[in-house]
Symmetry: D5
Subunit: 132 residues, 10 copies
Amino acid sequence: MDKYGKRRFDIYGYEKIDTEVLEAIEYEYPGRDTVIEYITEEFSSVCPWTGLPDNARLTIRYIPGEKLVELKSLKYYLTSYRNIGILQEHAVNRILDDLVKLLEPKYMEVIGEFLARGGISTRVVAKYGTMQ
Amino acid sequence: MDKYGKRRFDIYGYEKIDTEVLEAIEYEYPGRDTVIEYITEEFSSVCPWTGLPDNARLTIRYIPGEKLVELKSLKYYLTSYRNIGILQEHAVNRILDDLVKLLEPKYMEVIGEFLARGGISTRVVAKYGTMQ
Amino acid sequence: MDKYGKRRFDIYGYEKIDTEVLEAIEYEYPGRDTVIEYITEEFSSVCPWTGLPDNARLTIRYIPGEKLVELKSLKYYLTSYRNIGILQEHAVNRILDDLVKLLEPKYMEVIGEFLARGGISTRVVAKYGTMQ
Amino acid sequence: MDKYGKRRFDIYGYEKIDTEVLEAIEYEYPGRDTVIEYITEEFSSVCPWTGLPDNARLTIRYIPGEKLVELKSLKYYLTSYRNIGILQEHAVNRILDDLVKLLEPKYMEVIGEFLARGGISTRVVAKYGTMQ
Amino acid sequence: MDKYGKRRFDIYGYEKIDTEVLEAIEYEYPGRDTVIEYITEEFSSVCPWTGLPDNARLTIRYIPGEKLVELKSLKYYLTSYRNIGILQEHAVNRILDDLVKLLEPKYMEVIGEFLARGGISTRVVAKYGTMQ
Amino acid sequence: MDKYGKRRFDIYGYEKIDTEVLEAIEYEYPGRDTVIEYITEEFSSVCPWTGLPDNARLTIRYIPGEKLVELKSLKYYLTSYRNIGILQEHAVNRILDDLVKLLEPKYMEVIGEFLARGGISTRVVAKYGTMQ
Amino acid sequence: MDKYGKRRFDIYGYEKIDTEVLEAIEYEYPGRDTVIEYITEEFSSVCPWTGLPDNARLTIRYIPGEKLVELKSLKYYLTSYRNIGILQEHAVNRILDDLVKLLEPKYMEVIGEFLARGGISTRVVAKYGTMQ
Amino acid sequence: MDKYGKRRFDIYGYEKIDTEVLEAIEYEYPGRDTVIEYITEEFSSVCPWTGLPDNARLTIRYIPGEKLVELKSLKYYLTSYRNIGILQEHAVNRILDDLVKLLEPKYMEVIGEFLARGGISTRVVAKYGTMQ
Amino acid sequence: MDKYGKRRFDIYGYEKIDTEVLEAIEYEYPGRDTVIEYITEEFSSVCPWTGLPDNARLTIRYIPGEKLVELKSLKYYLTSYRNIGILQEHAVNRILDDLVKLLEPKYMEVIGEFLARGGISTRVVAKYGTMQ
Amino acid sequence: MDKYGKRRFDIYGYEKIDTEVLEAIEYEYPGRDTVIEYITEEFSSVCPWTGLPDNARLTIRYIPGEKLVELKSLKYYLTSYRNIGILQEHAVNRILDDLVKLLEPKYMEVIGEFLARGGISTRVVAKYGTMQ
Ligand SMILES: [Ca+2]
Ligand SMILES: [Ca+2]
Ligand SMILES: [Ca+2]
Ligand SMILES: [Ca+2]
Ligand SMILES: [Ca+2]
Ligand SMILES: [Ca+2]
Ligand SMILES: [Ca+2]
Ligand SMILES: [Ca+2]
Ligand SMILES: [Ca+2]
Ligand SMILES: [Ca+2]
Ligand SMILES: [Ca+2]
Ligand SMILES: [Ca+2]
Ligand SMILES: [Ca+2]
Ligand SMILES: [Ca+2]
Ligand SMILES: [Ca+2]
Ligand SMILES: [Ca+2]
């Protein structure tokens, strides 16, 4: 069955992750510990070895400092992972790093709930800072 | 496709938020730390840039001091956001401010769960005072 | 539309709440902190101003001392609220008072989850004593 | 246990069913076989023998002729059943009769899904006219 | 492991099925093809060989002639199966026979959805007469 | 309580329904009876009398002739109902008329499932042409 | 309606609870605080006054010492409650006592979630020892 | 990664399917068109090429002639597929054949709903005879 | 905001759809009208204009002639749509064409349920042949 | 009924558990307390006495040190339990031991939720290390 081995899918490197597009906007209630959560059912990247898709619900929960991430820029940043070859556990941590750098939040966690591969589904939670 | 750019929707300023209509009524058990929660599936405002609607389930949870908000007045106050241009995160904080001023509660939190825009849904939790 | 204004519904006063019917029975394990919870989907009272029905799921959770409430008597007590004009927040607190007096529990909370009125649903939690 | 026997609840006769309040409004698309459905989770009447409440989800599905029922008048008509003593099966048929008389629809069915009594829940479907 | 073989449970014969208690009441809309459905989540009988319990949701759907079954009598009739040893498939058919004899309906079906035994759940549908 | 009577909301006439923005695109499989369904959870219009919002899930199901409706234009057309005063039953029929005129489909039905008003939710189904 | 009064159901005393059949087996990981939970949807006993069935989901959660309960023996022990007349609150406590005596666990809780009687469902939680 | 290629799982041939164990019992209502349905969530076989497990919910729906299948024998027959290498589509058809031969039913269908393999789940429906 | 306009995503033409990889295997029960259904929650293609992803649950239901599609080849064929620019309605029809050519089934339908774009979700059903 | 006693299923000893196949890969964020969770709905082993299958949802939650388990190797390791005779409670503990030895995690818990046997389902939670 090497027929499938020969099938080539696009597998881009980390350099193609579009951190450039990310934009922050001013948050009018910095003093208050507001908890903000963005959820997308459509995060997608590819397996670094096989190039086959990995699909996940992605949740970004944070207590903002002075900045919010602008939603449309967040959408384009996340969509740029579509053909990136990255381990599920590492993708969640990389997204946390990029957004912490952009927003300097008081607290942030990123949760990736990946659909099953080989009958096994994966859930990854990466955190920065403390909730209280 | 500038055809869509030309489409003008009503986008009112913050001054059109109808705080006037809000009314408090006397609470007969002020001593006791009763937790009261109001939920509407139909909160709506518009995006400050495009004028397109933002729709959310809104939850108001509070421990009253001596006053409860009168439900019908709360309905008219929330409905007045329908054509206000306001960022989802800021709308939740503004509602918290208005109701804290009206009721002087021991504790209050307002939760906005906005339907997806560009495949991303937003949940915002703003708090005042402490639960215990 | 004053036609609706004229529609008269029965709105009884608090004196018609049938605390008389309540009965306690002996609990054979008073030493142990057993948590007991009664739930009815069919609690009903009426709005003190309009006489229109308010319907709720009612939950009574308590750690008994030496007494349990006898279920059939609890049913008749709760049913007696059917035509009582009482604010949702106050009904929950009144039920807590009546049952605390009857049972002298170590802890009790009463939760009323009222169906939407004007698109807004109400949840009320009143507590007595401490859980631990 | 005759204590419960003595408990008297209000049980009104059929004459208290408020058909008076019902109002029809003109339907602008009489030619077209539009199917219209009204659903309330809060229909309530009482058992003709015990006076204890019967609660149901009520669905009214019809193909209008030239008239629609005005929603607020429908609400007051249905609410008037609150203390009427009527068998669940008979209530559904009576509502069908009243609305058929008011609207002269091409087709109408009324469905009552009553919560359990003695562990048995009841669903009743009464029809008038033909669907096609 | 014959220890379990020795365990004796009560297994009564068909003669203990309490058809006596069943009662019919007059139906005020015999002309109309109303569909009436009773559902209980708590039907129970025992396996004729082992005496171990069989539990099912039971649905009785019928178009009445001139009679309805009185709900409380139906409850006591169904409860009388509790210790009767009867095959799941045969119980559903016996209930159909008893109720057809009592009510002489235009149509009746009885559905028994039994919880799993040995990892296999059973659903039985027995019918009398025709729907249209 | 005339305070609420005085509250004025924007209530636009039918002329503000933006049929202009609608666009059709060519369908590459006109011969085949493909069934296409668009669903939005966020259709909104206002009550012609009170100006209070009516919110619904809207489903458009059709068998196309030679044209599909372009999705972005459909979104702007539906969003234009936001401040239009129109009866729920009439809105569904008007949308059917506009889309039938634009697309000349073999078959089309529009379903509006409106959230409860006064405890009563409304579902409307308007059809054009035949399914087979 | 004394007809129902005359209906006799089997109501056995506590002595018929089959603690004899219970068996423990050796647990190979006594050092570790493993949390084990057994759930049955089919626990049944009868009301001590009326003999009518009480049905519940029963959950047994424990941290074992050196012994596990053998599942088949647990099934026969629980089934022996079928015709025992016992108050729902007392049944849960009695099961806790029997299993604590058999297993000498580090911690155990028993939860009984009884289906509604007179529209009121009951949930009982009895505990032994401490979780940590 | 040939490491996985080397992993050998048991893959038995069709001859190991235990049709022997199947047993029929007499059905007391052969005249009546009773519809009987058995459902197990735990059917399991293996892929004929890789030996990896295929798991499915299996539904057997039939109108019996004079015979019912004895449930315990059905459980052992289905469990015997555990290590049989058989295509999902073929397993469903083979079970239909075996049970039709045993029971000579008026009608029978077997439905296999297999969990996803490679992100694709499979549902197979095989039929014998006609429903009416 | 032309920043987003500049963002380029891969948008391949129809020629990159990998029909080559598809493989059929022999079906051992061609005579029988077995209904087979494959479901994947992870079908993905891109919008022909913006290059942004379209995600859908895809259902393929068919009555096979003499051939089944081999599941692993179906997975690679569907995955090859990942970066293809194709209208949702046209993708469903193209998949139907490819599989009908491969399998020559008695009947086949393909259903695509696409997640919302601009708040509107799309469901497409394309059919070949007749069910009976 | 000794017929079933004679039925022999494969029951392998613990030595057939394939710990060999397990593989670890390097984790790029060892400093951060990321919580990773793998879930399979398809864990299967057999009862050590009867050889009949035990099926469970298995959840592995851990905070990695420097190593992650490679998913495909985890799948083959778990699949190797298919014909192993092991008590449900012991299987969960054995999996914890094997994975702790492989990964040396900061924290790990394994949860097995086994489907009902004799109407009783079993849930087992085994832990290693501390969460914070
Ligand atoms: Ca930038
Ligand atoms: Ca004011
Ligand atoms: Ca926003
Ligand atoms: Ca008293
Ligand atoms: Ca209120
Ligand atoms: Ca009138
Ligand atoms: Ca009689
Ligand atoms: Ca135009
Ligand atoms: Ca013993
Ligand atoms: Ca009780
Ligand atoms: Ca045989
Ligand atoms: Ca296959
Ligand atoms: Ca080929
Ligand atoms: Ca489209
Ligand atoms: Ca190794
Ligand atoms: Ca066990």
